[in-house]
């Protein structure tokens, strides 16, 4: 019960506060902002666009993420750890950066295209400025979410299940379709749900690619409303958010509808190894190409733009300049502080969430109630809302000092942490929940008979078995939060800036080169951190750290 209360506090409260704001002037009837928003055709067009792009982007993320997960977990491809590691990184790169590097890649200034002699002329139409561009980039951006979720699920499959199918004469394709997919259904659904909700709430990519094509989705529409400085702005923004929330909830409803408890009895086998035969080298090259496209190119682009003296100058031996890095080191105060803050925030958010999510998943799976099903649907709302909106909700909630304690969260790191907890709860919950659904109850019962109390059972049986999923959730939250921008943008205050805010402020002030330099440093630091974790994690149970096999 206490648990539910915390969840309510962290998660549901902001959503409710927004709903309250949306309906604040509902007494005005026809004239109320809620009705106004509902009546506006722009709202419905943006809603349709949002649905369209999110659904398609989810599909793409599914194909990419699940495909790669299957590929890496199930085949005899070499260097699995390496691929996993490489595939985790794109999440680190802020969507705007990915978008920008792709724009540059496919634009007239593209060094690559110029090399190939197929660079489009100056000002030729940019194919990425379209719904398809949005779908493409969001799909890529969110694929790792699906990847981790599915992979976690794959690792616990008893190998006999697949073997039985092979003996039935199923080809590898049929096995994928008939066995692996359905057996990983929970993981796939969980991944798809996160990807969908992420896409729904994504602002960066539609802003970058949609606005030039006059293609508005709900988050960009909300932002547009905010530029409407009038007193009703908040109500209208909240009303639009209610729509986003409703869509997210129906998405999650679909997930819960099709998710099923499916205890996998039997010992998890060694990862199955489909023989790729001669195709292996080809597959490895294809993987390499994908990684190049979604990771190496953006990073190279970032690196390139951090080394030029000014934006738009093409990089050459003669004009390479480290002034951005020098500048950053010179004012390391702010950079370092932002780094500390972001690390502290993302690590503690990831950690607290992992602690919160384990019992939550347990309770909801082992003692299902209707109420829980409803709470679970609400969990996704804060993640689906554009970050700014969630930040507004947090300001509304915490601008005044807390009622009893008389502590003011506003203006401290506390409020950002709260917002992170609220926003990323679902990200860390989903993989754990999916794993929990497949945990054989007898394992726990056996411990119960040994006299293990709830707590011991938890510590000794459930926790170790859920640990890989919990860590996957931890990692996801960490990776997303460490670069988080949209939420912290409204909530930061002097001394509490985060990395995302730092980068954004530089970028916004036209300091693209500096911003790129910081981004490069961030990515390098995180990559080092992850590698270090891999080394430290030698003693952790198998499967906990994804890039260690």
């Amino acid at each position: 019960m206490g648990l539910l209360f915390i969840v309510f506090l962290v998660n549901v409260l902001p959503s409710l506060r927004l709903l309250g704001e949306a309906l604040a002037d509902i007494v005005a009837g026809e004239k109320s902002s809620f009705w106004k928003v509902l009546r506006s055709s722009a709202t419905w067009q943006a809603t349709w666009h949002s649905l369209y792009t999110s659904v398609l982007a989810t599909l793409l993320a599914l194909v990419l993420g699940a495909g790669l997960a299957f590929f890496i977990a199930l085949t005899n491809i070499r260097g699995k750890s390496f691929w996993v590691f490489m595939f985790m990184l794109p999440m680190m790169i802020p969507p705007q950066v990915t978008a920008l590097s792709w724009l540059q890649l496919m634009g007239p200034g593209s060094a690559l295209l110029q090399l190939l002699g197929i660079a489009p002329g100056l000002g030729s139409p940019q194919p990425l400025y379209s719904a398809w561009g949005i779908v493409l980039l969001m799909g890529i951006q969110h694929a790792p979410l699906v990847f981790l979720s599915v992979r976690t699920n794959l690792l616990v499959l008893p190998k006999e299940l697949v073997e039985a199918a092979r003996l039935s004469g199923a080809s590898q394709l049929r096995i994928m379709l008939d066995m692996i997919f359905p057996l990983c259904k929970n993981g796939i659904l969980a991944g798809a749900a996160i990807a969908f909700v992420s896409a729904l709430g994504n602002f960066g990519i539609p802003a970058m690619l949609g606005i030039p094509a006059s293609y508005y989705v709900l988050p960009t529409l909300i932002y547009q409303k905010m530029a409407d400085f009038g007193p009703l702005m908040l109500n209208e923004v909240s009303s639009l958010s209610v729509i986003v929330g409703a869509i997210a909830m129906s998405g999650v409803w679909v997930q819960h509808r099709f998710q099923s408890r499916m205890a996998l009895v039997g010992m998890p086998g060694k990862p199955l190894a489909f023989d790729l035969g001669k195709a292996r080298i080809g597959c490895e090259m294809a993987l390499g190409l994908i990684i190049t496209l979604i990771l190496v190119l953006p990073i190279l682009a970032l690196g390139a733009s951090s080394l030029v003296p000014a934006i738009g100058v093409s990089l050459g031996y003669d004009n390479i300049s480290f002034s951005a890095y020098a500048h950053m080191l010179a004012r390391q105060g702010a950079t370092w502080r932002a780094f500390e803050n972001s690390m502290l925030l993302s690590l503690s958010a990831a950690f607290i969430l992992a602690c919160l999510v384990l019992p939550l998943a347990y309770v909801t799976v082992r003692r299902p109630r209707r109420l829980y099903a409803f709470v679970l649907m609400l969990l996704d709302v804060p993640y689906a809302l554009p970050g700014v909106v969630l930040a507004i909700a947090c300001i509304l909630l915490f601008a005044k000092p807390l009622p009893v304690l008389q502590i003011s969260l506003y203006g401290s790191l506390g409020i950002i942490l709260f917002a992170y907890l609220s926003r990323f709860l679902t990200v860390s919950f989903k993989p754990v929940h999916a794993s929990m659904l497949q945990l054989d109850g007898a394992l726990e019962e056996a411990a119960q008979l040994c006299g293990a109390s709830m707590v011991r059972r938890w510590r000794d049986i459930v926790f170790p078995l859920l640990a890989p999923a919990a860590f996957a959730g931890f990692l996801l939250v960490f990776l997303i939060a460490v670069n988080e921008l949209t939420v912290s943008a409204l909530l930061w205050s002097a001394g509490n800036e985060t990395l995302g805010v730092l980068v954004f402020n530089l970028e916004d002030g036209g300091e693209t080169v500096l911003a790129s330099a910081i981004s490069v440093l961030i990515i390098m630091m995180i990559a080092l951190l992850m590698l270090a974790l891999g080394i430290v994690g030698r003693n952790l149970p198998k499967g906990v750290i994804p890039w260690r096999n």
Binding site: E21, A42, Q45, L100, L103, Q104, G107, P108, G109, L122, G123, S124, P125, Q126, Y129, A207, M208, I211, P212, S214, Y216, Y223, Q224, M226, A227, D228, F229, G230, P231, M233, L234, V237, P309, A310, I311, G312, V313, N319, V388, A391, I392, I395, L396, L397, A399, K400, Y410, A489, L490, S493, A494, N505, L506, E507, D508, G509, G510, E511, T512, V513
Partner: protein
């Protein structure tokens, strides 16, 4: 004593301003929050809805926003002595806000672009088809002012925007996006704020800035005092400081046109007298802002 400042200046500029003010007034401390104008106002609105108002002073991009706040009675009036040195068009006559610099919107183009645009109407030529980017007034305050200025001007009016649309111009999010688009060649021509292009060019970016012959629109980055300020005295000092000669010298150093009369212009800018301004009325712009935005989004959606 602590003063809370909400500003949309770039972080580095804001830091400079604050440092200088603190130096000039020993013992005072300025807590500042920097963000885009839109987000700042959103934050402010949320705070107001929660019943708390944090900032004492606002220093944000455009006057239309402040006009709105003034209309709602959220600002405090203050007649600064320094206003004598300013063109009356640059500040509110009741003293609710004062422009601090001149940021004009003109035309930028890539250094290798085939055409050299000289006037706004050049952008409507067939040679520019699908080649022009501009910031969207739905997101950027400066762009909204630009829109109001042009549409209110009988020489342009809505017909100009309709033709732009017909000529395939695209609206990007903000000035930053346009800068990137032009400098990287994605869109060789763009409607852009002056200092961005000029500053980048100084660093070596392949970009040129043109003050069109018809004139340019203007935002003044005004400063204003909140009515509920807990430090009204200090707030006034801040306003005076920004408007004072040393304050304006800072603006100059940061690479903007200072608003104060008799100041020099930064490198890369023409003489103040050679810049032709299109006429603009903030109050009227505010009145029309809904219609303007609607018109724009109809046109460009």
């Amino acid at each position: 004593e602590t003063l809370v400042l909400y500003t949309s200046q770039p972080a580095q500029d804001a830091q400079m301003t604050v440092d200088a003010f603190e130096k000039a007034n020993p013992g005072t401390k300025v807590e500042w929050v920097r963000d885009g104008t839109t987000k700042l106002i959103t934050k402010l609105r949320a705070e107001m809805a929660a019943g708390v108002v944090k900032p004492d002073v606002l220093l944000i991009a455009d006057s239309v926003t402040l006009e709105q706040l003034k209309k709602e009675g959220l600002l405090a009036a203050y007649q600064s002595e320094e206003s004598k040195e300013y063109d009356p068009a640059l500040f509110d006559k009741d003293g609710y806000y004062y422009g601090t610099k001149l940021i004009t919107t003109g035309i930028a183009h890539h250094a290798n672009a085939k055409e050299k645009p000289a006037s706004w109407n050049d952008l409507l030529k067939p040679a520019y088809k699908n080649q022009v980017a501009m910031p969207s007034p739905l997101y950027s305050g400066a762009a909204l002012i630009h829109l109001s200025t042009l549409t209110a001007n009988p020489d342009f009016s809505w017909g100009f925007y309709e033709s732009l649309k017909e000529n395939g111009a695209s609206a990007l999010k903000g000035n930053g996006s346009v800068l990137t688009a032009v400098a990287s060649g994605t869109s060789p021509y763009g409607v852009l704020a002056d200092y961005m292009a000029i500053r980048e060019k100084a660093k070596g970016a392949p970009i040129e800035f043109v003050f069109p012959t018809e004139g340019v629109s203007l935002v003044t980055e005004p400063v204003a005092i909140m009515k509920d300020s807990k430090q009204p005295e200090l707030a006034r000092k801040f306003v005076d400081f920004v408007l004072s000669e040393p304050g304006q010298q800072l603006v100059l150093e940061q690479g903007y046109l200072p608003a104060r009369n008799g100041m020099k212009t930064p490198a890369g800018f023409p003489e103040r007298s050679q810049i032709k301004l299109l006429p603009f009325d903030a109050a009227k712009a505010l009145e029309n802002s809904e219609i303007d935005k609607e018109g724009f989004s109809k046109l460009f959606n």
